[in-house]
Symmetry: none
Subunit: 231 residues, 4 copies
């Protein structure tokens, strides 16, 4: 369930100079790139470092990715953009209240994205967007818009089932997105530097989810005799 490829990156696995592993190369390079881009930033990472971490030479990297930017795109595509189908499927299959669905969604985001290196991509894109407008546009199309759409589908479900009240779909979606993005940013910036303002992600996310739901859920209409308030 965890999406973090984890220790799959191994610098220089013992291999002869010309080991043929064409199929494995792109994945290894993408893994190495994710690692370093997240750790040091896009501009500060030299392609040579990426290649070295993947156990190949600089030239080989360019055999698979026409440019450094394309490498980043591949990282985004592999770890974020390409996974929305899977997430939409999960959406389809979910049974239970939409409030639970939203809680589940936020927890899963943490488990699969937030807690892994992948959240570093979001931070990266926010940091570098202005320097690489084409990348920013790509990220927006391939990640931001689908993400917003996914959230909106959840809200919509809540509305349709009479569970939620959502005055404005777009800003409602931001209400869900903002705390997650903030957490990703925080984790990969100040959160990685100091110990003074530590956030416990699970608590943070739980708190945010409940706060959100308080705003979203249809309140107990006075006519409802029993005071059981929808969470």
């Amino acid at each position: 369930m965890s999406s973090d490829p984890g220790p799959s990156i191994h610098a220089h696995p013992a291999h002869a100079k010309h080991e043929r592993r064409k199929d494995a190369r792109p994945g290894e390079l993408v893994d190495a790139a994710l690692e370093l881009f997240v750790q040091k930033g896009f501009a500060a990472t030299r392609v040579e470092e990426v290649a070295h971490l993947a156990g190949v030479s600089k030239g080989t990297l360019f055999l698979y990715f026409p440019s450094k930017e394309d490498l980043l795109k591949a990282v985004v595509r592999h770890h974020l953009a390409g996974r929305f189908p899977e997430w939409h499927q999960e959406f389809e299959r979910f049974e239970g209240s939409t409030a639970d669905m939203l809680r589940y969604c936020m927890r899963m985001w943490w488990a699969r994205i937030g807690s892994t290196k992948i959240s570093g991509i979001s931070k990266l894109m926010m940091s570098e967007a202005r320097n690489f407008p084409e990348l920013a546009a790509f990220y927006e199309q391939e990640v931001v818009l689908p993400g917003m759409l996914l959230i909106q589908r959840i809200l919509q479900r809540g509305v349709e089932r009479g569970e939620f009240t959502v005055p404005d779909m777009k800003y409602g979606a931001y209400t869900v997105l903002a705390p997650l993005m903030f957490l990703a940013m925080w984790k990969h910036s100040l959160g990685s530097c100091s110990s003074a303002v530590q956030i416990d992600p699970e608590s943070y996310i739980a708190a945010q989810a409940e706060a959100l739901l308080a705003g979203l859920c249809v309140r107990s209409t006075p006519s409802a005799p029993s005071g059981s308030l929808a969470k």
Copy 2:
């Protein structure tokens, strides 16, 4: 009332040959640096541009700041830390419901920080924190912690007056902070690149405030007999 230093930046103000107050130089350079760092990012801003905008030569800049990094430090120091006393005073004087206070606080943040260049500093810090750990620590002490404290005082006021229910002060504060920081980041990254995912700040903030308040406010609906509030 506006926090934007505004017209204090003047490239080449008319001045007699040697009349310029030498003491003013650092300030002019800091202003110019704020302008450009926020506009173009830290790495993308050339020190020569900063010097030119401040009306001095590149060499002169290094007379006052030992490095580009130190210049960034000075910008952060000058424009964010040090304004909290004023804001705490405003807190003391506020009369009215704490819900209104929170709404006011968020709107004021937008008016004084979010909509001005200063929000760019927060974005800058998030982006560059890892590259400048010392600066990150400074920012945390001088900006983040005081900011968190201010928000917590508001929440505390609400609790004390029986208006709010706040299970955890720290995470409650994040609930307020996150949407604002997210907005600042967004504005200075993807928001400045594309037109697809536009956020109207006032609407966004209003939506976030109401969502927050829904979660914070004591629900006691007069008709509801007993307050068994879910969470």
Copy 3:
């Protein structure tokens, strides 16, 4: 009569799997190299392109030619040296005035060399001679000297038949060679870039031939009563 190898270059000719005559490989590679070297220049042509045009892989090219430079050598060797015997034979057979012979010679040069890819080789040699001294020496021995000799034989014929006056054989030959070489260079450099200074080859050659002949021909025009020869 056409000297252009023409359709001998065929990328990926339909062929059964292993039927290709291995002996043909070098020739196909040389043809492809001529095509591309002339079209794009030596440095700007990638060996991979040559291999691809010849329908083989990059590695195969290096099986037959130890380096790109050697490939160029092979091109020069194959396409220029070795055709002089044929031209000398034509010289023997020519009947008519030597003036007509020179005109014919220049027109034929254009038809067989100048207008074809082969003229690109001369341009190539002029451009790259300094980088490949050994190749330059080869070119001189195998192409330049025989060419000069051929021209000198024509001039000699004119002198012997009382048609030409040639103060110095060597410089006389240059007088014929220079405009042809200039045309070859021009065609493959500035002439292929711009439209401002276009040369119509046939007109150019005709003009050069007549100018040359004016200088070469014995002026006494018996029929002209007044013996005052122009110049």
Copy 4:
């Protein structure tokens, strides 16, 4: 009268690190560039070498010339394009027969251009034109067209004074240009490699000039008593 800057290039004249010689720099760099571009070709010359030969660092070169191509443009401008006014003036002042004028023109070309490094520029442009179309266009506009114009003015003078017969101005000009360009090319390619086909420039030019004049001069001058042939 000689235009060759000659030994004005001195690598590392004794000077302190930061010797200020702003005014002299461009000229020194242009001289160094001429030297190396002609000697090794444009692509094969590294900007660092040029800078080193001029006694400065790589960075300094880019202080004066925005790119390597611009450096070459400056070389062309300084040594060729910018000198046409001077040559047109000489044209105006010339007294004597147009035949003598043409002889003088060709000899002067050799003395000032052909025999110096400058002729290497023409060779360079012919060699590299296709790789650098923008440079080629520049060279055509700034050098080729003015040069053609200058030659045409001479021919025109001959026609107007009844000395020359020129059926077509354009091809007449090429008749003059071709042998000079051929000589420039030759000198900087095969001529610099081998000893077999040596050209003595003065003899070559004299021969070409007389051959040309034979074609240009109005023939039968009935009044010319006896066949005192020019030349």
